[in-house]
Symmetry: C2
Subunit: 204 residues, 2 copies
Amino acid sequence: MRKIITIGREFGSGGRELGRRLSEHLGIAYYDQEIIAEIAKRTALSEAYVRQITENRPLTSFPIHFGGRFCALPDPLLQQSISIYSEQHRLLCELAEKSDCIIVGRCADYVLRDSHPFRIFVYADAQSKLMRCMERRTPEETLSEQDMKRKITEIDRNRARYYAFFSGQKWGARENYDLLVNTSGQSVKKQAAALYEYLRKMAD
Amino acid sequence: MRKIITIGREFGSGGRELGRRLSEHLGIAYYDQEIIAEIAKRTALSEAYVRQITENRPLTSFPIHFGGRFCALPDPLLQQSISIYSEQHRLLCELAEKSDCIIVGRCADYVLRDSHPFRIFVYADAQSKLMRCMERRTPEETLSEQDMKRKITEIDRNRARYYAFFSGQKWGARENYDLLVNTSGQSVKKQAAALYEYLRKMAD
């Protein structure tokens, strides 16, 4: 059986850790930040820039009402955003073609829809996400709880807009996934092990 | 470990079958139609009437604009609907207290929230639900596909209203559940076995 698993996730829900652990259980490839690095290589743009474009909303300009008609101003940033998305699209298809894998984020559930991936969405309540983010702060990060809450809301808002822009679908809406997993107050390590058992049984 | 599992489900998604099969795997009680029968016994109302009240929206009258103020007419049907809900509430608490169990529908995730049940929501795409419902028609049911589609939509609309009325929450919204399972094109028998493995691992 071919196994392509995509994971959409709220920021701070532990979706990335869950994906990594699940890939270890299944013994298959795991792609997340590697995708940014590869796109940067292919487009000759910096990793930081590619990350900025792919992790923020792609629509940087709005149509302007002009002489009774709606016209979009030509926007080089939007153009570049779409080029990067196209490159990412190609790359995701190549990766899914190459071997079984888990891909985190990047509208992979939508991009790879013809391969019928198993689509997981990981989420948690606000308090759990805040706690996880505060615990995982690097020494350089000095965000207060209030600022971290704002950051979480902002990142998820961008993810929802990015997903809606490229897929035309609603991010996190159950109809776009096969399984939605709530990590609130749970051990992600244990959830990854449980999910592995679930998938193993489904593949019997 | 105590196991109280609640299952919310879209009509035709196989949620009831999934609950029954899961209860067999876990060797715990399963409550669904039994609840109707018990409430009927306790309230001396007919089972058919209790089913009608608990499976349709409880709000049967609307406030009427009267002399510049909104007034609700006293409505005996609404009163009775609330009495039946109260009886159901007591019964669910008694059942959860008595032994481990799986309870399907009836806002059980909300009613039993203080017992921290494991809350599952089962759903499927429109085509899968239609196929399942058409296959399971009794010989007396002569609904066309078009009529069955209407029936599915109507029942789910009522469930959503019932849930919203008594819980103040949105039916099927991921934040109200621990796991949401899409049964589209899947074997519910296999999914029940897989869910059992998931829960077993989580309880380790």
